[in-house]
């Protein structure tokens, strides 16, 4: 048994290496799929845990920090305003933003109670991978949820989510831009308010 498994792995690796020149630097589809599968399992575990809302948001934040490219998501959400932010402001923003986004999406995930996400497949788009999944919620037609995964940081992390065509990066850039406008462009005020926003 062990022999045949390892041989199959060897053949698989050889075929993959032959088919894709430069495989060593290419994104790993298996890793991306495994990452999303684990991410879904972790989210489901939190939802089913029956913990208090605050405890759940803490868990969601931990999940966000371990599975997503928080630096990229924060930088994208801040957009051109990031250019005038100091190094300290950038760090503080990423931190506050990650908490905010965990609470915000955590609230939505709670609606997934009794539902499930199924991984359909992985494919390469431009310089990243798209992991396609389908969400099945009670009393609703199934819909598409896609995770965009890159290894920019050295490991496979998601940097964007598309839910029926609506993407998180663009939505959050709109929101953060509006929040900054409301505070006359004051980044420190934005950071302070993000710590409690959801």
């Amino acid at each position: 048994m062990t022999v045949s498994v390892s041989r199959r792995h060897l053949i698989g690796a050889a075929v993959a290496a032959a088919a894709l020149p430069g495989t060593a630097f290419a994104l790993n589809q298996t890793n991306a799929r495994t990452m999303v599968t684990k991410l879904i399992a972790d989210i489901n575990k939190v939802i089913d845990s029956g913990k208090s809302e605050t405890a759940m948001y803490r868990d969601f934040e931990r999940i966000f920090r371990s599975y997503s490219d928080t630096s990229y998501i924060a930088a994208y959400a801040m957009g051109v305003d990031g250019r005038r932010a100091s190094a300290a402001q950038k760090r503080a923003f990423t931190d506050a933003f990650t908490g905010y986004i965990s609470r915000k999406y955590g609230q939505r995930f709670r609606e997934f109670i009794g539902g499930r996400l199924e991984v359909d497949g992985v494919h390469q788009v431009k310089n990243f991978l798209e992991v396609r999944t389908t969400a099945y919620l009670r009393g609703e037609s199934p819909f598409e949820v896609n995770f965009h995964v890159s290894d920019r940081t050295g490991k496979e992390l998601f940097f964007n989510i598309y839910i029926e065509g609506v993407n998180m990066l663009l939505t959050e850039r709109t929101e953060i831009g509006a929040m900054l406008d409301k505070r006359q462009g004051n980044i420190d005020k934005l950071i302070a308010d993000l710590k409690t926003a959801s």
Binding site: Y76, T94, K126, F159, L169, T174, A178, M179
Partner: protein, 253 residues
């Protein structure tokens, strides 16, 4: 007295589409970048204010009450009922788009759910694995080659585009059921759709509230959500417009 409500709504929407469909056009470059084209933003924002007021004093409380009294299976039934009444209209739109198979699905759904499904209160068509049909005259115009036009927020109805607003008006008159010689109730599909919307507003109360009231700019948020979702529904995935992981420097973040 026939169709008394419909022309009134239609007239107000046509009036609005007339105001807004003036002379604004979009360059191909603007369209390709997937950006938002909103030349009537100030008008739209005041209509958004009106819609928000309507939601606050009427729709939101009514939907909460509706969800509180109605057991979930009954809310589902109302949804199925409204959905079923819209099937003949969707069949017409499918035919106009040249999607004959989809038109067949719409007809099959209507026939099955109207009979076996207790006049549309249940949805056995889904159990028989007949695909869902969701289309409208806005999509027909898209298939015929009309561009999206400008973003508009319609009174009561909510986010739309100049093209889709025309679709909304046309669809008020394209449901074959309205031309049936005998009808139990006038405007029944309009009322059923209203009830369905009320149910959805109540069921997804937290999500809708988050967009409308918790956002720093509910108008901009609703506009972004509508346009992204609508483009996806009409054109499918647009990998060309996907954001890549190297579009912005992460230095310091």
């Amino acid at each position: 007295m026939e169709l008394s409500l419909r022309p009134l709504l239609a007239a107000s929407l046509i009036g609005l589409a007339g105001i807004t469909s003036g002379c604004a056009t979009k360059t191909p470059a603007q369209k390709a970048s997937g950006e938002i084209f909103d030349p009537y933003e100030s008008t739209n924002r005041s209509i958004h204010g009106f819609n928000l007021g309507l939601d606050k004093v009427l729709v939101r409380p009514a939907s909460k009450g509706y969800i509180a009294v109605m057991p979930p299976p009954m809310v589902d039934s109302v949804n199925y009922f409204a959905e079923n009444l819209s099937m003949p209209g969707r069949m017409v739109d499918s035919l106009l788009q040249g999607k004959f198979k989809q038109a067949g699905h719409a007809l099959a759904r209507f026939l099955i759910n109207s009979t076996v499904g207790f006049a549309g209160l249940a949805d056995p068509a889904t159990e028989f694995e007949i695909p869902q049909v969701d289309t409208d005259f806005g999509e027909t115009l898209h298939v015929w080659g009309f561009g999206e036009g400008a973003y508009v927020e319609l009174p009561i109805y909510g986010p739309s585009t100049t093209r889709d607003a025309v679709g909304v008006v046309v669809n008020m008159f394209t449901n074959p059921l309205d031309f049936a010689p005998t009808k139990p109730v006038n405007n029944i599909s309009l009322y059923a759709d209203g009830a369905r919307r009320l149910g959805d507003r109540g069921r997804y109360a937290d999500t809708v509230d988050a967009v409308l009231y918790d956002s720093a700019d509910g108008y901009a948020q609703a506009r972004a959500l509508y346009l992204q979702n609508r483009r996806y529904k009409l054109e499918g995935d647009a990998p060309d417009l996907y954001i890549t992981p190297d579009e912005i420097s992460t230095e310091g973040f």
